[in-house]
Every structure is written in C-alpha cells, then in structure tokens.
Amino acid sequence: MFGIRRFRPAGGQAVTAILFLVPALLVLVAFRLWPAALSVAGSFQHNGEWVGLDNYIFLFQSDTAVQSLIVTLIYNVIINPVQIAIAFALALLLVDKIVAPSVWRSLLLIPVGIPLAVSSVVWGIAFRPDDGAINAILMALGFPAQPWLTSPDQALLAIMILVSWVGVGYWAFFLTAGLKDIPSSLLEAARIDGATYWQALRYIVIPLMKRPLAFVLVANTVSNFLLFPPIRILTAGGPSGSTNLIMHEVFLNAFTYDDQGLASAEMVILIAVLLLVVSLQFRFLRDR
C-alpha cells in the first residue's frame, strides 16, 4: 500500500519511469541511433567533404554495386521461404511424427554450435569440384560432378545449401516451441469432427503459428540480408559477381578500400530495403 501511495503523484511516476528507462535508452541511443545517424551523415560525404548525393549516384551507376543489390534480392527471395518451409516441416516432424525427438533436435542444433567461419571452410573443401566430398557422393550415385563454387550458375546455390545447413535446424527449434504452445484440445476436437491431418494443419496449426512464423521469418530475413562470412571466406563475391551479396560490398568499401562514404551509402540502401521487406512481412503475417 505504501508503495502505491508513494508513486501516485503523476509527475513522480513519470520521473520514476524515465529513470528506469534511462539505461536502456542510453544503450539504444549509443549503440543504435547514434551509429545509424553517423552512417546516414557519412553517406553524404567523401573523404570528409560534403558531396550531397554523389555517393548514391556513383553506386547506382556502378555495375558492381547494382549487380550486388540484385544478387542480394534474388538470394533472399529464394532462401527465406525455402528455409522457413523446411524448418516448419522439420518442426512438425519433431513435435509428433518421430521417435526420440530430443535426439533429433540435438542433432539439428549441432551446426548452430559451429562457428559459421569454420563450417564455411569445411563446406568449401566439400564443394571442391575435383576432389570434394559432395561430388564424390554424386558420382557414386551416378550423377555427373558439379562445379559448385567455381560456376557463376551454381555458386549462389552452394552458398544457400551451406547457410541452410546451419539455419534450418536453428529456426526449426523456434517453430517447435511454437507448435508445442498449440492447445492439444483444439487438435483433438478437430480430429473428433473428422478433420484430416492436412485440414488440421491448414485451418488450425498454421493460423495459430502466425506469430512464431512471423518472428522466424523476420529474423531469418534480417540474418540472410546481412550474410557475410561464407562470402568472404569462400567466393569473395565471385565467380563473376554471382555471390556478391551487398554486405560483402560494404565490407570491401569500408575496410579494404577505406571508402567510408560509399560503404555508408550502401549500408543505408541495404537498411532501407530491409525495412521495406520486413514491414511487408509483418503486414502479411499480422494477427487478424
């Protein structure tokens, strides 16, 4: 009672609330808003001088930068739905269709525990066209050897395979938690009413999974838009720019060429595209 009375004065309550929020707000400003503002300001500068939109004009006239943006979009349009679909299917299996689900869950999580840089190196060796493990398996099964990372047509696919090897198990883990939250009484009622497995999935499970799916889709999209280690380690953006995701371009400009203006402008474009995509995703997956 004492506490409630003490916080009752309107002004005092607001002050207390603000005091509690200050640490979080400071962190938010120092580590999010301030760097973002610096980045936006930096995107209008070159070597410390104000150049207006020159950096943006340079980027949109540059084949490399435009190709990088296109590759990033293609990569994301394919990988996000595919990863989520596979992760969702795995989660369904893990929840009720498999023996010893905890063993499978652990196995699926092992790739997540390996640093992406390490898995990239190992996958890079497996993808070697002449003596890699993957071609050895393909050939043993009677398929022709593939060029993988050395072909402009297959390198992005190879990167997607590597990234999905890590990502699918991770996202399936979140979706499993979501599936377990669905009241079993609903599914039992549906079964009693004569609904098939697919009908229950379509009309009960998927609608109830919208929130976990929205989280997983958004988080996955963000991580895929910002993907960097396998590109840096395995392809450096090649062959012929086919895996030149925009984060690699940003890295090159910022840390290899020391062109902070271009790097900032690319980062601003990337964040703008990402915000647009994520807001669309939220819109489609909103609870109605």
Partner: protein
Amino acid sequence: MKPLAKVSSVTLVALGALSFAGVASAQTVLQFVGPEQPSAMEPVIAAFEAAHPDIQVEYESVPFNDLNNIIQARLSDGGTTPDIYTADQPRIAALVDRGLLADLSDQADGLTGVMWPAAVEASSIDGQLYAMPISTSSQLLYYNIDLLEAAGIPLPSMDPEGRMTWEALAEAGAAAQAEGAQYGVVLDQINRYYQLQPLMESAGGGSGVSPNDPLVPDLVNDGWLRAMTYYHDLFDSGLGPRGVPVEQTPDLFANGQTAFFVGGPWWLPRMTGTDGLRFGIAPHPYFDGGEVVTPTGAWSWGVNPNSEHLEEAVTFVSFASTDPVGSLETARGFPIPPANMAVFDTYYSEGQEVEGVGELILHELTETARIRPPTRGYIQFEQILGQAFEDIRNGADPATALEQAQSQLERAWSRL
C-alpha cells in the same frame, strides 16, 4: 584536520608513492601486429628485449587475409596502437597516402649496401623511407621426381640458363598427368597478383599500371591477353585445379598429386619434411621469346605515426631490420628470405634444405626480380584483379574479364 581526512590524505600520499614506484619500474610496452606465427617472432623479440630491458614487445598474430583490414580499422581514426605493424610492401603507397605510416627517412642511411635495393625501393615513396625492409621473396619451380620419371620427362635443370618456358611446362605437366599425376601445374598463390605478375610481364604486357600515371590501369593489351589465355587454359584443360583456395595449394604438391608447383622457398622445409616426397627445384618459368621476370617483395615493418612510443618503436624496427644481431634473429624465425643481404648468406648456409637454392634465389633477386607497381591505388588493383583472375580460372573469357576489370579499376581509382 579531522581524523578521517588525515587517514585519507595519508592513504593518498601512500598511493601516490606506490604509483610512482610503479611508473619507475614499468616498461614501455610496444604492441606489434603481423601475420606471422608468434613463434616466428620469438627470436627477434627476445634479442631486442635483452638489449633493451626497459622495452617490452607484445606481438599479436592475425590472419594474412585480414591483416590490411585490421590495420585499416585500428589506425584509421588516429588509433595509437598497434605501435608497430607489418606493412605489405605494395600497399605502402596507400598506407602513406592515408597517413598510417611514420616517416623513417632518418633511418635510411643504414640501408644502402645492406638491403636488397628492391626491398628499399618497395618501402619508399618519393624517396622517403616509410618502413624498414624485413624480408624479401622469390618463387621457384618445384617438381615431383617420381611423377616426372614415370612419364619419362627429363628433370629440369637448376641452371637459370636452362630455364623452362611456360609453354614447355604445360606440355610436361600434361604428359605427367597422362601417366597418373592428378594435376600437371599448380601455382602457389593461385589467384593473386603477386604470383601472376611475372606472366604478364614476361609476355610483354607490363605490370598492369600505366608507366606514365600510377592511377591509370593498363590491362587490355596483347601481353596481358596472352598471359591470361595461358592461365585460363591451364584450368580449362584440367592441368591445374579449380575451387582450391590459396591456402590449400601446397598440399596438392606435398601429397604427391602434382607434377609441377610454382611456389615460394618458404615451402622448402614443408616439402623436405614430407615422407615419401622426392622433389627437385628449378628456376621460375618464362614465356617463350619473352623476358625473364620473377616476383619479389614481401614484408616491411612500419611504425604507427600516432604511437605514444614512437621513438621506442623506431628503435625496434631498426634493430630487427639493420642491426647485425637483430636482423639475424629476425631471419632465424622467418620462413621467407631476409631483406638484409648480410644476413642472407648465413640464413641460407644454415637453413638450406636443397643444394643450390640459395644461389638460385640470389640470382633471381639480382637479375630477374620485379616489384609490384607502387601505386596508391594498389589495394583496389589487387582486389579487382584477384576477382578477375579467379573468374578467368573458373572459365570466364580472358578478354572480357580483363575489359571488365579495367573499367572497374578505372571507376574505383576515380574515387582516390
């Protein structure tokens, strides 16, 4: 004075005295960042600390591929550490342009007649010295005796006069492949400019940078096309491997899969230490009818101009580079040849794994070595060419890839 105040003032005085004692006995700590393994640095650091008990050197090893990015990130905003770092010689112009290297010209007097002239040239910009030359490099042709004998190929001579041409090398490699070698010809730094510059230079294409203007690329010419067509065919025919990164190429020779390997002398200990590998050494190849050119250049050690211990840092790099004791200790730990000529003889008589290699490297360094172009746009040059080389290796048309690289480079250099 109140008792509490008295106690605190006494404490303050005591603390002050303590911290003074601390300062008096404290050493200057120099931070040093480079790509070598810490064990390679131990001899020179130990010798330096013995000679300068008041200075301590802390070495931090970073991966070769990340060195330049790390230096860039740590120094570009006026960072005071590392005090000393390894400067890749062709990047010195760009580092100087960005104000990341202290001028060491007052140390330059000690270098004449002591260092390989190419190493000094590669560490200087407009006649000013910006880093102390530490090592130099060259490339050799390694061959697998068993694979060559199996194919009836005569073993190449070590004599520079009997140097193989690139054309003959490809033929011999193909012959060895027909008799069981997995690869005919493998290049050490398989897609890097350092390794490939001699091909273009030997084919008469020049360095790729216009001799008249260090910020004008010159990649679209007959020499470059000849060299890059050869390079393209090397992989298109399966003589060399696709998809194998630089770090994994020496394995292909060490494990007996490869007939010919063009690689640095730093692989000699590895190859001589490999059981069952019988190999020989020959001079670096050249193009038929072209000039003989071999790669060179390696590391210099530079000082951060914003270092808080500038004087001590300069003392250290000079010790490691020119001091008779220091330079020998540097060379002792290093896997690549020293830039210091006085040390070179000792280095090769002590550690020579293959008879005659010291003389061969000496010949290349004095007669055929060519440094990479000293342009302040070298970073863009190396990066864009690296991608073009990798594309050509993976099957892209050489002429198209070179034209693309030329226009990318023109755009990138327009930013400088």
